[in-house]
Symmetry: C2
């Protein structure tokens, strides 16, 4: 029984395409085998030993009674129903979002391909050269389009990227100058996110015409930076060159939010003095998706690179001297710098950045320019036509956006919007007098005529026909603002322009990357489970892709229903009262949750509470987020057995009780055990006036057995890209929703354009009201198909798989922590320090050698530097787990040879790992290794039939020398 | 100019997602380079030297004026419009077609994956072990389900498979006995195809109750075989054991058409005496698709295996002794046996067979049994419910199909069908009194209640609710007919039942196979061009997949429009008057076309005309098809320059003028040149009373420049899977429509269930009226997106690519044929006999060595045994063509080393090729080769960055010893 129930049909007539059956790896006989190895008669007995009884919820709390299960075909039909509930109205709203034309070859072979969407962030570069190259293409594209020195490999969205720019300017001013000017032309959602973020850092925003603001001496004296939008929200193309000089004279930085397509025609920000350039790359072939996910970008001048947030890929060399890519400047990241990190960003938007980069590879500079010129030419046509109908366009210069004064001809905006809606068109709602129109790649001349006729009819002007088309120019941008410099001269952007070449390039890159399509990725804390096809299919229905986030509510009822259902299910699962889906990563969820806690304290007149207790074992994003929320971090110790030091916690809580804001805890802990004292810890915090933030990265161990509310939390985030099966995308997208107890619900994030939540709400934390809305479909589908029972059974399988693995490895490796019954949670921590002491073998050596066995290594050196954290998830079968354990045990034997002196310390199977094919072809004279090619490549018999090959030799893990991010390839 | 026009937008406002731009490989500068290398100033001048002026059509004959071009997004929208024009009515019609439940993991990762759909038939086993293994799974599955000794790797459809069974029975009787009994329970479309096929062979069909027929002594005396359907068309499950004994007593064969799902519960045909078992595997996860494509199967007893039609995969060993798969028993095929071949089948249904096999891998024997039991249980429920409403079920025993007498309760079938249609349901239309219902995997209990209520309402009986559900049994099949034997015990069917495992198995197999996603596949005569994503996307819209071929016409208007447009475009392209899309392969097209010619002669009282002239250079399917159409083959010689010997043609035409039926010609010829004399040849035939059949395999060289009608033909087939971009699927599906001149139009094939064409029409040649209807969407999209201009430009690019390749290779290899201007057509033939003479190096050695360079070899030893036939197609870029030529030239140098004695004759880079990774890992002591691993694996520098690896060493090309088709894996 137990897991088996979820897998066997209940009657001859029952539906059979049930998802739990396919999602959970172990079959019934495998479950029985694992239980018997662990010495249990039943799954229940095993769970009872694993999860503390004090925190268990009722067996039917999360069951098919509370969350009914749909079959895979029922889900498909339901998703089609929701898709049809979204109205097909075409949006010309602009404001940072466009209708994308996704090249089919990219849609199907990247966005819909598990080879691209299942890999993890490329922390293991030897088995990730494909997406590393593609991310370098992204960086190179951003650098070239913006004319900046360096760019990162994506951020979450344009608004948070702008906020990162602001924070960088503040840091550049050594936190001494606190005034940041936001030009009036900046997108409203960006402004809202800046407001939220400024608060935590104590930055003063001055909003208005930037040049005017700078005339104020007080502003100049305290200025750390200025943000401008180029072109601005109303479509103006302004020359910010003089402003930049002014800002620099004040020793402050210019941050510019911009548009990649416009930059094919406009002088790039790097050529008129911007220090930081941010934006959204989604109009390069990524669907609007009701707000996301999209790859935002961040570029800066060379001198700022060490302060730059996010991941940066650089060109390095492997141990054979072959060029190879890897993450660079990692020392800037939170897991190293913790509360001193420049940013909390971790999961970003790799998949979408890769799509945008591939779009540029496919179109090349000439193709991109043609697209921009077409959009610009059609905008000229629209301008001339609406002027024929008597309207005035208020922005003199433009690329693709017009702001139209409708007060005369149409007697106000209402008539225009009504005519537009009748024609199936959304326009930007500015105010009573003005209407905005933004064109994009998807628009053709017929649609421009249709648009023009909307305006004509609202003005009762004569209808327009193709006969009225005016002549157009390649560019009507003022000469000094035109781009003169070339862009994207690199071979990669000038080679793959036929679909055949493009497809081969995509397949070539993917052949270098290990994903879930190849083998287990047992990364502890990352929950790399099945990303089912059935949950991925609705995502690319056009009815979900072609939706502007600011489309009127009545047009997005399909999205609404899905969102309400997902929120309700997440509340059920966490035991909480309300949910915000806005944060678009786990770290963003942390920041949002802590901001909510601050707002709660403030609402009670306790705005001074600013101490945040965080265990030393916490993920680096925790302290970084706390600092961003304006909190001071006080670390809490762990005991030798890995559990939280409750004495230390109590002492610090009491000590800081007047200022205690929050306690952040990960549960089960990052050490991989369910601590029995979690409720006591939470009580201590509550008794001292604090709120408990539960980092839900490990929620996969809880569902149906316990929940964050029962554990004692007030708020938690979930990583939908871990627990709820959104694929990791090679480094994002993710979603980090937060669920909160009732007293915190009023403070959940709002949005400046589309109202969500009430007047106590904190400001927005993401650009779009529901963050990366389209991928919510994946988690929604996952939950609906498993149903409550399948969700709970999945948790049990995840625990069983991890404990079986711990059992198999425990005689060969030192298992660092377990509970008093000998049980781990859903992951296990093994300590390799003995090998370092005995023979200089490091965690990395074991990890790289695992690559030779065809596996992705577990999480290395985190949360303890000498350890590996291993998480198999429920989706792995016994066979795969055994294969992994066999490999680990064999590597243990290989290490023993080194320890015993049978193999040299500096030239052995581990130190030389991994062994790519090129190494096997080394001439005999140069082989020079005290082991055979055979032992290097095929240490286990099954590798002869099935093996994933690293494509380069070991790449040094240390800091890159000169960061060569632009490879020129 | 020339090609460039198709690639550059016409104005700033023009649409930019134009397909020609992406489909044609060479960019403008590459075209200029190739032209200048060949010494031409313009594309026109080049074409003028290549295609004989006498056969050129006007420049605007095929242009955007005659076939307008849609952009990729316009095509997508048009396809959605057509999809919506098909009505979503659920079919319970049965008759061999079911609603399939395609597991999403298979849908997306096989059917929608270019890694699976772009490879060719696995003639190069070292780079095809993945699909070979999967096809072995298919064979194994068929053998196990049917309990037969051997099975092939798919046939075109159930009806043609049954016809092959009949012909095998006829051959088994040494063509001495001509009577073949068709039981009354056989599907009507199967009977129709048998009638067509019987005619050509002079077989006499006796249709009726088989046991009764056998009581006739005359029948027994002349009996070659009997065909039964199990279960039969009305749903009866009969015991044919006694009949089988009777048939065997008459020394004839029993052919059984059956259903794989039923065989999980019914005693398999192999256990009651069937000699041949055929059927359609599509209900194992392949969409109905308005008739196809589907993988049909053919299994037989061991003693018949050498007469079995189609491809058979067997387990062999590579030169290192490692087990490896390859095509077996190839000596049976037409390219060897020509007019003595057992069948003309060439392209079959590999992709669909692989889907069905993967479905069985995913469900396993227990899962399949559960599905069958559910279907059977629901059928029991339906029977009980309709009986409650007063109906009588006329078939006593059943698996999933009921024939219901409606004459009483509903006073005839009309009322029932009306009620059904009102409920969105199609039932089988049998006659006024009887209605058929077939259930399948997609049906749930709610739908059965809905069905039952259709019957209840037509009988004015009280509505039924879940309360009326009767008890059900696991099986109500009579005990002696129940299956007792186990099936699918093999590990592969009992391992991959989670989606994670399944996905990894699919990816593991595909990693062994070279497809267009990796490199050029320059197979002469196969036209392996881009299979664009945009043309593949509509194929898997559910509105096209879930359509029964016998659904009422008003429900399939989307299909109809597409079919009419495709027919019209193909007529425009060929210059002919009418089109039949029914033949589902090129060979089936040949057979259909020749049968049409015969019918034409008959209609004129010239039914005696039975001589078919065929050049010796013709493809092996030509003579095989001619024989099937009842023609006698007379070969025609070629001249030394490769052209047809017009003297010989004339002499034979005159000699046979009283009986001359047809002349079959491939144009441009299989030798890769446009012969100037084609019109003369056709005149000679016409003057002597014959008709000209043009084999359109090489149509890719003609479109827009000439056409089959202008060349002088009366009928031609097209391979949509060559010229019109249907992907080859690793060995099918294909479509072989025929276009005909006006005088032949009345004779195009008909269909017994859905009327197409008039009363002079020949009988059906395929099971479904439009053959493999769903994949017609691909060619339709291809033509619509290129438009006439893009089609013509593609032809020119194909010619240019081939001529440039010939130019680069001509100083290194002996180019066998060219025209008087030195030009080849769209492919080139190089002769390698000098290397055999000088050093024993064969064509195969060059081919296998090309694998080491990461390329798929060209067509080998056909149409001339010492040659390679190379066809680059228009989709390859200059870079890829140069890479291929560089490889060929380097191999020439490697061969020179052997010729010069610098490398031994029996141990060199060519003879030992290919070199898989495992060979590189060979221990030094065993390396034993007079060259380095480096030279073996990386003979060109670019291979270090990008190389496709063969997974096994050379597999012997000779006949397999004992054919080990069941591998037990
Ligand atoms: C414990 C923990 N907290 C927070 C995070 C941050 O989540 P994200 O990467 O989605 O920002 C992670 C990521 O791995 C984590 O493991
Ligand atoms: C010249 C020629 N004719 C006919 C055929 C048979 O076509 P199919 O394989 O579609 O039956 C081929 C296939 O390669 C061919 O090359
Ligand atoms: O990205 C992580 O730190 O897991």
């Amino acid at each position: 029984r137990g897991l088996a129930t979820a897998k066997a049909p209940s009657s001859l007539l029952a539906s059979l395409d049930t998802f739990t059956d396919r999602h959970v790896g172990p079959e019934e006989r495998e479950v029985r085998h694992m239980l018997s190895q662990l010495g249990y008669e039943s799954v229940e007995a095993f769970v009872a030993d694993t999860v503390p009884p004090s925190i268990r919820v009722a067996a039917d709390d999360v069951s098919n009674a509370s969350i009914p299960a749909l079959t895979e075909s029922e889900l498909f039909n339901r998703a089609r129903e929701l898709a049809r509930a979204n109205k097909p109205v075409k949006s010309y709203i602009g404001m940072g979002y466009h209708n994308a034309v996704v090249p089919p070859v990219i849609l199907r072979n990247i966005m819909e391909s598990p080879a691209w969407y299942t890999p993890y962030t490329p922390y293991q570069p030897e088995i990730a050269q494909g997406r590393l190259e593609s991310l370098v293409n992204f960086q190179t594209m951003i650098m070239s389009m913006t004319a900046m020195d360096i760019a990162n490999s994506s951020l979450l969205d344009e608004a948070t990227a702008a906020a990162e720019g602001m924070v960088l300017a503040f840091a550049h001013a050594a936190h001494k100058k606190r005034t940041f000017v936001v030009d009036a032309g900046v997108l409203p959602q960006t402004l809202a996110v800046l407001r939220t973020r400024a608060k935590g850092f104590g930055i003063q925003l001055v909003v208005g015409d930037a040049s005017a603001a700078l005339r104020d001496d007080a502003v100049r004296a305290d200025l750390c930076g200025v943000l401008v939008q180029y072109p601005d929200v109303d479509g103006n193309v302004k020359d910010f060159g003089a402003l930049a000089q002014d800002v620099h004279a004040a020793k402050a930085l210019v941050v510019c939010a911009t548009d990649l397509l416009a930059l094919t025609m406009l002088k790039p920000p790097g050529e008129w003095g911007a220090d930081v350039v941010v934006g959204n790359s989604a109009r390069f072939g990524v669907p609007a998706g009701y707000g996301g996910p999209h790859g935002a970008f961040f570029a800066c001048i060379d001198s700022l690179k060490r302060k730059m947030p996010g991941r940066l890929i650089g060109l390095s060399r492997d141990s054979q001297g072959k060029p190879a890519y890897r993450l660079a400047l990692q020392t800037r990241e939170q897991h190293i710098r913790r509360e001193k990190a420049t940013s909390n960003i971790c999961t970003s938007q790799a998949l979408l950045a890769n799509m945008a980069a591939m779009y540029a590879v496919y179109h090349g500079p000439a193709g991109l320019k043609r697209i921009a010129q077409k959009v610009h030419a059609l905008t000229q046509v629209l301008k001339a036509l609406v002027e024929q109908s008597g309207y005035t366009v208020t922005n003199a210069d433009f690329f693709d956006t017009l702001t139209i004064d409708v007060s005369g001809p149409a007697k106000g905006a209402a008539a225009v919007h009504a005519a537009a809606l009748a024609a199936g068109i959304n326009l930007r709602r500015i105010d009573d007098k003005r209407v905005g129109v933004t064109l994009d790649e998807s628009v053709g001349i017929e649609e421009v005529l249709k648009l023009a006729n909307v305006f004509a009819s609202a003005a009762s002007a004569p209808p327009l026909s193709p006969l009225h088309l005016p002549p157009v120019a390649a560019s009507v941008v003022p000469e000094p603002l035109r781009r003169a410099s070339a862009f994207l001269p690199h071979p990669v952007f000038n080679s793959h322009h036929s679909e055949t070449e493009m497809l081969r390039y995509i397949y070539h890159l993917q052949s270098k990357d290990l994903g879930l399509v190849h083998a287990m990725i047992p990364l502890g804390s990352c929950t790399m489970k099945l990303n089912s096809t059935s949950s991925m299919i609705p995502l690319t229905f056009p009815e979900f892709g072609n939706v502007h986030p600011f489309a009127p509510t009545d047009q997005v009822q399909g999205y609404f229903e899905m969102i309400k259902e997902l929120e309700a299910d997440l509340c059920k699962i966490t035991g909480f009262h309300a949910c915000s889906l806005q944060p678009n990563s786990g770290a963003a969820g942390e920041y949002a949750g802590l901001s909510v806690i601050r707002a709660y304290h403030e609402s009670r007149g306790e705005g001074h509470r600013d101490i945040c207790l965080i265990p030393v074992s916490a993920h680096g994003t925790n302290p970084a987020s706390a600092v961003m929320a304006g909190l001071k971090v006080v670390p809490v110790k762990s005991l030798l057995d890995g559990s939280l030091d409750l004495e230390d916690l109590k002492a610090k809580a009491v000590k800081h009780k007047d200022n205690l804001a929050a306690f952040m805890i990960t549960y089960p802990s990052t050490f991989g055990v369910f601590e029995a004292g979690v409720q006591d810890a939470c009580s201590i915090i509550h008794e001292n006036g604090g709120q408990v933030y539960l980092d839900g990265a490990n929620l996969n161990a809880q569902i149906g057995l316990t929940n964050p509310a029962t554990c004692g939390g007030d708020v938690c985030h979930m990583n939908l890209h871990k627990t709820f099966a959104i694929p990791h995308g090679g480094g994002g997208p993710g979603v980090g929703p937060i669920c909160v107890a009732e007293h915190l619900a009023p403070f959940l994030p709002s949005h400046p354009v589309v109202p969500v939540n009430g007047d106590q709400a904190i400001n927005a934390v993401s650009a779009a009201q529901y963050g990366s809305a389209s991928i919510l479909l994946i988690s929604w589908a996952y939950i609906k198909m498993l149903g409550g029972t399948g969700l709970s059974e999945s948790t049990k399988a995840a625990l069983l798989n991890a404990n079986y693995m711990a059992h198999r490895l425990k005689d060969h490796y030192s298992l660092r922590y377990k509970n008093k019954n000998g049980r781990v949670a859903h992951e296990l921590l093994i300590d390799l320090s003995e090998f370092d002491k005995a023979a200089g073998l490091k965690v990395t050596d074991f990890a790289k050698r695992l690559q030779d066995y065809g596996f992705h290594p577990p999480t290395c050196s985190w949360p303890i530097s000498t350890c590996m954290l291993i998480e198999p998830t429920e989706s792995e079968s016994l066979e795969e787990i055994d294969r992994f354990c066999d490999a680990m045990i064999q590597i243990r034997a290989e290490a023993a040879d080194v320890v015993a002196g049978r193999q040299p310390r500096d030239n052995n199977l581990l130190k030389n790992a991994p062994h790519p094919i090129a190494v096997l072809a080394t001439a005999d004279a140069e082989w020079n290794r005290p082991y055979s090619r055979e032992a290097a490549a095929f240490p286990m018999p099954w590798l002869r039939e099935r093996k994933f090959w690293p494509t380069v030799s070991r790449i040094d893990d240390g800091e890159l020398g000169p960061c060569n991010a632009e490879t020129g390839r």
